[in-house]
Symmetry: C2
Subunit: 333 residues, 2 copies
Amino acid sequence: MIDLQEVHLSAVIDAVRANQRFLCISHVAPDGDAVGSLLGMGEILTMLGKEATLALADGVPDNLTFLPGAERVVSADGVGDVYDCIIVLDASSPDRMGNVYREDAHGKSPLVVIDHHVTNTYFGDVDWVEPRCAAVCQMLVYLAQRLGVSLRGNLAEDLLTGLVTDTLCFRTSNTTADVLGAATVLMENGAQLSAITARTLNNKPFRSLKLWGEVLPGARLAERVLWVTVAPEQLAAAQATAGDLELSSVLSAVAEADISATFIQKTDERKAPVVECSFRAKPGFNVSDTAFALGGGGHPAAAGCTVPGTLEKAVPPIVAQLQQARAQQATGQ
Amino acid sequence: MIDLQEVHLSAVIDAVRANQRFLCISHVAPDGDAVGSLLGMGEILTMLGKEATLALADGVPDNLTFLPGAERVVSADGVGDVYDCIIVLDASSPDRMGNVYREDAHGKSPLVVIDHHVTNTYFGDVDWVEPRCAAVCQMLVYLAQRLGVSLRGNLAEDLLTGLVTDTLCFRTSNTTADVLGAATVLMENGAQLSAITARTLNNKPFRSLKLWGEVLPGARLAERVLWVTVAPEQLAAAQATAGDLELSSVLSAVAEADISATFIQKTDERKAPVVECSFRAKPGFNVSDTAFALGGGGHPAAAGCTVPGTLEKAVPPIVAQLQQARAQQATGQ
């Protein structure tokens, strides 16, 4: 069984018990672990007789609205000013909270950070960070158990959804025996694994396939680094958005590559061209250092960043950095 | 915890304890569960001080030779005549043993069948069949525990490989809490999940991706039937073979389709054009009737056939049949 950060977990438990009115926040561009942990935290607080406002700057993505409690989630205009305590889930730095957190109104309340990113900046008054957990939803299994809250029902379904989506159904390299153990407990408490995978991972829009047809002919492989680029014209041709790509797990399954990357051409708020970069590494390799050096963050096995420029200018030097990092890591093994 | 067939499990344990020289066999065209359970059974018998010959009519496939003990496996010419007991793993009927079992030589020895297929014909003297187990490797976790054999080391790695490959890394609908529980125990005993998925499921050649880039632009969706066609020129452009396609599970994850199909242009022995058809159906839909009507076969969820003709001529009427079948099945629900 995993050694938890007991001092910090105890501080979270104290904060939960001592307060009544909570604002819970997860990160912008929310994924399954963001939504699952937010809804799960809401369930835990409700079962303890607390009041909780659940907030996401970008709302619940369409493919996760099936989750029990999703209708409770508010965006910025549903967030009040006064809370006893603010709990932030799955966010490695304060900017990840987006506009649902307002320093002027919320800065006075104690801030509790619950996260599993190794890159967490410890920006809370209480910071419970467990990089060895594959998802914040895994951490909430332990929190619920410590608080004596039953996992049965909605809570199990919310938490297993985050665990399944963050590990791509237990395929990521951080899937430890403890991850499977937590998933086992959630299934024993009624969570339906195959229904969750059917509604999340096995639920791809047809336009994703058309987009793959646009970008895969341009897939490149050199020095065991594999990459694809996505231009706005390709998105238009497939009638798709960048969110439809979801190609990372396919790329990271390619035998001849240790590191894979996707590069998507976007524009920032000032209409300047930027490239959104997403990296994956196989076990034994690390992409978080490269992402961090480029102003991004993430885990050793999955990281990303956004850099200024066009695909033509920005991609070649980043690919070279990834190839260099891979070569060094291969030598070091 | 699963209710095991205790009477039959006890009979297996008695047969293991009472005998010394074993012949262990798994099925022709072996998959991960066949090889994993065969090697696992070999480990169990060795640890109990027994002698075991491990036999596969078709040998160990290349992608599974990394498994500990794979070098012990023999084909027909390595099988002797006289054994105290024969243990058959993951085979639903005697023909699945292939030529490593010879009735004249082996028919005198007691035959122990260990299987998880609901279609098992109970052809042994002892038949331990657990259709609620997702893999025979899951059954061997319970057998090892009952026999007091440590799972640590090679045994854990062999058994987790079978469990992972038969459930596509816990994505099949028969992945219960007991499956995850067994996998947890195996990881706690040292099996490396991410290394196993990396070497089995996440081990796609780059040419598969290039082939997807060739065929996905032609993916079509109509009346909730999704299909792709593969012409010889496309295989040539990707420097790939038909076996590199492996697109079925991607197609069957598309939200807007209930039935998916791949059509590959081939030629038969007389150089006449034929189309190899592979169908998948989502839960609640059935493609085996259509495949059967076209001279093929399979299961409700996955079936196929080979028909004469070219893609241009053969595909449209088959797509129409699939669309008609789907419409009837949707009405019947």
